[in-house]
Symmetry: C2
Subunit: 371 residues, 2 copies
């Protein structure tokens, strides 16, 4: 269990298989996010048909509602949401620090006010593990503190706590059918990131994560931090870049040795009427698509693109029909999943540099609009 | 084409097959409503898996947005919404009279203000046919005027116009691959309903509809009108009761010789957190279901009931996740489709009276809550 076999390499990029109780994950892998035990708008059947193999759910949200104990009593999160492939839960740390307006951090943990019912709650490293053991995901995360990326003093403190909390989390862990990953923090500070990677690597987790990125820093800083951290994290264990991201970021992350990614982007974009295509992002409300019989992406073989025209999807969006978000989410998730499959193939044939060049040539960046 | 073969009878109830260009419809049949070219929240794949065979779309809505000519240019409504089984479009009459705040009716047609963009629009019997020919449904409806059910003077005028408009619609029709149904009106007035049925029957449409019911009159009045009308409408053609309804109404309609029904109820209820069960309607937000591992209905074999607990669906509702409406819509549609299948079976074995008695014994009416 939780063996990680690297089957091919090309530069820092690698193709691997991570063994979990719910099946083997081919890496690099992108995990869509099912915040509240559902990837928004998709049945597990649609999610599987879109090609997803790993889904992330949010510990913070599920702890607050419906409650981790309730989910445990109903057989755990896999059973609850009817997803029988690998699941990953985050530690709740990121949400406690980003969603909860009132919170107090101390050495032992964090007290915070629930955004659902206003009640006061407390998370400690031990509590975060206990909640995640109740949920029962295959991959679980140590409780961490996510500091604003440019605040050195706070970042130093947060790194120290995160290391301390990672140790306590590892000690608190009881279940053997879950892989606990440690999280590297350290903002945009080279030395701090390096130090954090060394400490986390030393704890010998079955996998390691890079947290606190894609939270406001520049792309250059993000990529620099990934390089510093991955130079330290063990080669023979999966590396997980949390909360990333765009097609461009996935490609650059893999080039720097990342194996696992998660992001709300494909489903959030879909709810905001935007779709990925091989040529870049498009806004489906654009009047140019009003009578366009083509699918979102002519090179895509997802359910949405096999069946529906841009004109139909644009109509659904203007008519405020929920099917629009479902169809575009299916497509966006499939596109990222297919991108990861293409990435794995390019690595296996040692053509990853050419793959990146080809992608950059045809893909307009996320701020522009493709044709 | 449009042959109607009655294969079994039990009292006034009958089982038939109605041949359409997109396949044979087994009747009695319930059609879910896809107002804007989508049954809200369901892909056509999910709709088919739920067992739907006939879908109704709204001429009024699709004429206003995205436009019938646009849909025609994209290959018609079947292609646009990717539903390859039979489709039915209404005439737009009901929506013109119920949704448009400003309207003027004259002998020739109706002028009304679009609720989408405020533009002035005009529907005539000929225009309603032309729009429906652009949409291309298998069953199309003559343009009718729907009067408030208790207004005798208005009802007399509306019936006269509806008959006149039915004749004009029949003359305007060009396509031979669509069955035009006439609509009987007449409020709650026995003589007027009988007279309307006689006139519409005399026009020899391939099928006939009963309009202007389930719009505020009592159940007794509705059933009385169905009986009066169906005593006149030809036996050998399908009878369509528009906008009905609840499980109880479907059963009573079939007992009075109705073959086709449509209603927004299963999907609208689903969006309002209510589900049909064999024992009656339940409200899924009920706290009693918070840890209930049972499916919505233990006797149901729909996708939702094969996979998900009441506790999960309640969680989705409280978390305002769109998957809730999708899952409950799948269930509610399947339950009505399955009810129609059970009805057909009972008619074939001449046990329809026993079927009704059994249903009434176990099904609490729609105002109460089942366990």
């Amino acid at each position: 269990m939780f063996e990680f076999d690297i089957r091919a390499r090309d530069g820092q990029a690698r193709v691997g298989t991570f063994k979990t109780p719910h099946g083997n994950l081919e890496t690099p892998v992108f995990a869509p996010v099912g915040t509240q035990a559902t990837v928004k708008g998709l049945t597990p059947e649609q999610l599987q048909e879109a090609g997803a193999t790993l889904v992330l759910a949010n510990t913070y949200h599920l702890y607050l509602r419906p409650g981790d104990e309730l989910i445990a009593s109903l057989g755990g999160l896999h059973e609850f949401m009817q997803w029988d492939q690998p699941l990953l839960t985050d530690s709740g740390g990121f949400q406690v620090f980003s969603l909860s307006e009132i919170r107090e951090v101390d050495e032992d943990g964090v007290s915070f006010r629930s955004h659902v019912d206003g009640s006061m709650q407390r998370f400690t490293p031990e509590k975060a593990i206990q909640v995640q053991e109740n949920l029962g995901a295959d991959i679980i995360m140590a409780f961490d503190e996510c500091a604003p990326p440019y605040d050195l003093a706070y970042s130093q403190q947060a790194v120290r706590r995160t290391h301390n909390w990672a140790k306590r989390g590892a000690r608190a862990k009881v279940r053997s059918d879950q892989a606990l990953f440690g999280i590297v923090q350290g903002g945009v500070f080279h030395d701090l990131r390096k130090q954090s990677a060394e400490v986390i690597a030393g704890m010998d987790f079955p996998g390691n994560a890079i947290g606190g990125l894609s939270v406001g820093e520049s792309k250059q800083e993000m990529f620099a931090m990934i390089e510093i951290v991955n130079a330290v994290l063990p080669e023979n264990k999966p590396r997980y870049l949390m909360g990333v991201g765009t097609p461009e970021d996935l490609i650059q992350g893999v080039a720097r040795g990342v194996d696992i990614f998660d992001c709300v982007l494909p489903t959030r974009l879909a709810r905001h009427k935007a779709a990925f295509t091989a040529k870049g992002r498009i806004n489906l409300t654009n009047a140019a698509y009003s009578s366009d019989p083509r699918p979102i992406d002519e090179t895509c073989d997802c359910y949405t693109c096999r069946h529906f025209s841009r004109a139909y999807i644009r109509h659904l969006i203007l008519a405020r029909e929920m099917l629009a978000a479902t169809l575009v989410s299916i497509h966006n998730i499939h596109l990222l999943v297919q991108l990861m499959a293409d990435i794995r193939k390019a690595i296996k044939t040692s053509e990853y540099q050419q793959f990146i060049a080809r992608f950059e040539h045809q893909y307009k960046n996320s701020q522009e609009e493709a044709g």
